[in-house]
Every structure is written in structure tokens, then in C-alpha cells.
């Protein structure tokens, strides 16, 4: 399991969401680069409601903000039992409840 993020070839920093211009130095050479996929739960929510009917049968689901160890924050799906703030997780590209591509995080203790 690995994780790729947009990475600036000029200042060597990653960012999220994806951009064609680096928000740190305005560099215009961005390459998706494999990064260390560990991080911590910063905040999380248990969703009970969705605007999208086909999503509703999967509720409730837990969505969290994870700060990766490189400093970048991403939104991920998380198991509801893992939503404690500070919980250590590994983030990877996976699928959400309805099968769409999404970032998912798993607790390192599991």
C-alpha cells in the first residue's frame, strides 16, 4: 500500500488538493510522488446524512482529516472505531462505500 501526492519539483514540498501550480513557491513542475503514508487523526465526523440517495444506505460513515507526517492534510474514510483524535493511521488509495476512488485510513494498531 502506498500513497502518491502532488509534489513540487522546485521546493520539494507536497500539497493537497491537487494543483498544477505549487501553493508554496508557485513552481509549475508538479509530479505525483510516493510519500510516507503514515499520519495522525486531526479531526473526524460520523456522517448520518447525505445529499446523494445511493450513498444513504451506507450511512453512517466516518470521514476524518489526517495530517500526514509530511505535514499535508487529507480527507479520508476511516473505521468509526478509529476516530479518536491523535490516533495513528496509514493512508492509502482505496474505495469509498459506493465504490468510488477515495483515500482510506487504517489504524496502525489493527
Amino acid at each position: 500500500m502506498n500513497l502518491c501526492l502532488p509534489h513540487c519539483q522546485v521546493c520539494a514540498r507536497s500539497h493537497w488538493p491537487s494543483r498544477e501550480i505549487c501553493p508554496h513557491c508557485l513552481g509549475h513542475e508538479i509530479q505525483w510522488t510516493e510519500i510516507e503514508s503514515s499520519g495522525s487523526v486531526v479531526t473526524a465526523t460520523l456522517l448520518h446524512h447525505s445529499l446523494e440517495p445511493r450513498f444513504r444506505e451506507h450511512l453512517p460513515v466516518c470521514v476524518a482529516t489526517i495530517q500526514l507526517d509530511c505535514g499535508v492534510c487529507v480527507l479520508v474514510y476511516l473505521e468509526p472505531g478509529d476516530l479518536a483524535i491523535g490516533n495513528r493511521v496509514i493512508v492509502s488509495t482505496g474505495t469509498g462505500p459506493t465504490g468510488q476512488e477515495a483515500l482510506v485510513a487504517k489504524s496502525v494498531t489493527r
Binding site: S18, T43, T45, L46, L47, H48, H49, L51, G96
Partner: protein
């Protein structure tokens, strides 16, 4: 650079077109109703209006340019506001500077948005490229998701509990009970607040605004013109805007106000203790707490204590907050929510409240916040209004 207010400029004729949940009419109808009311109530003809500034999400892909032809307006100053919930104070500041500089004489400031059929879902789909790519895959919930994350983080950091958020909602509903256009008028008890169904924990039903359709508007002109027309008005003592403040914060913990409040109060020659009311942007109660802290009504992290200690009702003895009930009572008609505080603030300082009138309100603060692009509101704004003196 010395901060500067707006000399000899008046804001007048606050207009609220009564909201409905779902509209049979299009967005032009709502914007046009606001414009028509401005003309009718001011006695100023459409031909005299030479500036127009508007905020609307559902007007897209049309723009404010389209409004001129639709409404038969010929203007020499025009501005389109994409700032959502921050748009009211921004509209007022921009229009006031234009009038002060002589770039326009009468500026109509309007906001309108509609909710009909799938309009809200469509709005969310089209909201921003970041939202589409990095937020929408996570439950398709609209703004409840980022604000649930922000609220949980705030509660953990400050020790705020649900009852603290509830105090804001209950006080505003008390105010909204007396406001004729509020869609949610029934008094709210703490028991009802706490028992509401969860939406995106820790947010429950009464923490979330109800999407609806509506329009608001006001006019900006010279003090001389307002006086000549016999229009009650407010002076604009100071105003600030800020975009993308504190981008390094991993979760939003304030708007941009901490960067700008010293300038704001210095320009007005006043402090937070001089304000007779606060019209704060209230898409969620945590954002009201950001404003209480960021605008200096209490220290950072102390808003929960503040709302426990201070009466927030419009007829109380503390700090009257969102005296018309705010969006939590009125409903949120898209970008119109950014104008709600301005129209209510103008009514309060000019003694024209439609519901509860704050006793002897002569000066007050209106702040705006909005436009979640990814995980936080990027725009914040604030103005200080004072009763105009003839």
C-alpha cells in the same frame, strides 16, 4: 498606512424579500424583487441608480453584467461578488468606497438565490474544483462535512460542549420568533436542541441552516442624498476583508478577523465593548464562536465561556447577537446569507427593526464569512455601522 473609514457615505433602505423554502420563480425574480423594493421604498428611480453590486450562486453562468440588461439598468460601476457569506460587508465597503470616490452616486447592493428541485445538489456539484476532487467523494454531504470536522476539532481544543453551541441557536431562535420573515419561528428549548437527530457528528439538526430561497438588498449613496430623500441611514465607520487567512492551520480555528480587527477598530475609533450588537455569520454555531473570539469580544478559545455568561438575546442585557434570528432562524438562501447581517444591522442602527429592536442601538458590528473551497471558509469580512446623523 493609517486605516480609513468612509467619509460622508450612507447605507440605507434595508430590504428583505420574504423567504420561501422552494421557489417557483427563478433567481432573476428574487434579485429583481429586491431591486424593485429598493426603488419603491427609497423614492429613487431606476435611472438614478448608477452602480450595481450583486451576490448570487444560482445566477451562474450568468453574471451581474446580465442583470443590467435583464432589469433595464444602465450603470457606470458594476461588481460581481463570489464571496458567499462574506459578501454583505464586502458589498457595503466596495460600494461605499465607490461613492466616496465619486465613481458612482447611487449603488444598489443586492443578493438573491433560489432553492428549487435539485438546485442545492447541483450547486454543491459545481461548487469548486477542490471540493469536487477532494471533498465530494467523501459522502456528498455539502458544507456539513467540513463544518462537522471544524466543530469537532474546536470542541476538543476548547472543551466546548453541545450545550454551548445550543445557547447560540436558542438565543437566535428567540430573536427569530419576533422576526416576521423567519422560516423557523418556534422557540427552541435546550432539550429539543440536544434531542435533535445527528447530521454529521457533532452537528445535529439545529446546528445546520435550512436551505431556502430569498433576496436582500440595500442602497449606498452620499449622506447628503440620503438626507435629501428623508431616508434613515447608517454611516460606515470601518470595514475589512481577508481571504485565505492562516493557510498553515491544519484545521480552521478562526476566520481572518484576528489579522484585521486592530485595523477595523482603529479606523472606527471604537472597540468591541462599544458595540451595541453583533450580526455574526451563523452558518454553524462554531463560526459564531470564531467571530466572538476573532473580533475581540472574548479571548481565543473562550467563546464557550462567553456564551455561558453573556445573554445573547436582542432584548437582553448582554451582547445582542443576530437580532433578526440569523440564518439559523431565517433559513439560508445561498449567498443571501452574506447580506442578512447587513440589512439587519442597518435596520437596528436606524431604528427600523422588523422584530426586536435593540434599545438605543446606535453602533454595531456586522461580520461575514464564507466560501468553502476545500475544508474551510476562505473569506471573512466585517464592518462597523453607526446611526447616521443629519
Amino acid at each position: 498606512m493609517t486605516p480609513r473609514g468612509y467619509r460622508h457615505v450612507a447605507a440605507a433602505v434595508p430590504v428583505t424579500i420574504p423567504y420561501v423554502r422552494r421557489s417557483e420563480h427563478g433567481v432573476y425574480w428574487w434579485l429583481g424583487r429586491a431591486l424593485g423594493e429598493l426603488v419603491r421604498r427609497s423614492g429613487i428611480s431606476k435611472q438614478e441608480i448608477d452602480g450595481l453590486i450583486a451576490a448570487s450562486y444560482t445566477l451562474r453562468p450568468d453574471s451581474v453584467v446580465s442583470l443590467t440588461e435583464y432589469f433595464g439598468l444602465t450603470v457606470r460601476w458594476l461588481e460581481d461578488l463570489p464571496m458567499g457569506g462574506a459578501s454583505g460587508p464586502v458589498a457595503l465597503c466596495r460600494a461605499a468606497r465607490a461613492v466616496e470616490a465619486g465613481d458612482a452616486e447611487i449603488v444598489a447592493c443586492i443578493a438573491g438565490d433560489v432553492l428549487g428541485g435539485a438546485a442545492f445538489g447541483k450547486l454543491m456539484d459545481n461548487y469548486s474544483s477542490f471540493s469536487r476532487d477532494a471533498v465530494l467523494p467523501y459522502g456528498i454531504v455539502g458544507p456539513n462535512l467540513p463544518f462537522a470536522l471544524i466543530t469537532r476539532h474546536y470542541m476538543e481544543r476548547t472543551g466546548a460542549v453541545r450545550e454551548d453551541m445550543g445557547r447560540i441557536c436558542i438565543a437566535q431562535r428567540h430573536n427569530g420568533h419576533y422576526f416576521p420573515h423567519a422560516l423557523l419561528k418556534n422557540p427552541l428549548t435546550m432539550k429539543e436542541y440536544l434531542a435533535a437527530r445527528p447530521i454529521a457528528e457533532p452537528l445535529h439538526l439545529f446546528d445546520c441552516v435550512m436551505p431556502c430561497s430569498g433576496a436582500e438588498g440595500f442602497l449606498v449613496m452620499s449622506e447628503d442624498r440620503a438626507q435629501a430623500g428623508g431616508l434613515p441611514y447608517a454611516s460606515i465607520l470601518a470595514g475589512v476583508e481577508r481571504y485565505n487567512a492562516f493557510p498553515e492551520d491544519k484545521v480552521q480555528v478562526s476566520g481572518g478577523w484576528p489579522m484585521d480587527r486592530d485595523r477595523l477598530y482603529a479606523a472606527a475609533g471604537l472597540g468591541p465593548g462599544d458595540m451595541h450588537f453583533l450580526q455574526a455569520y451563523d452558518d454553524y454555531p462554531v463560526i459564531v464562536m470564531f467571530q466572538l473570539e476573532g473580533l475581540g469580544f472574548c479571548e481565543t478559545g473562550e467563546a464557550p465561556e462567553f456564551v455561558r455568561a453573556v445573554d445573547l438575546t436582542a432584548d437582553g442585557v448582554g451582547l445582542p447577537l443576530n437580532t433578526g434570528g440569523g440564518q439559523l432562524s431565517l433559513g439560508q438562501a445561498g449567498a443571501v446569507g452574506g447580506f442578512v447581517g447587513i440589512t439587519e444591522g442597518l435596520r437596528q442602527v436606524s431604528g427600523q427593526a422588523l422584530g426586536l429592536q435593540v434599545m438605543n442601538a446606535t453602533v454595531g458590528l456586522v461580520s461575514g464569512y464564507g466560501t468553502v473551497n476545500f475544508d474551510r471558509g476562505l473569506c471573512s469580512s466585517a464592518v462597523i455601522l453607526a446611526r447616521g446623523s443629519a
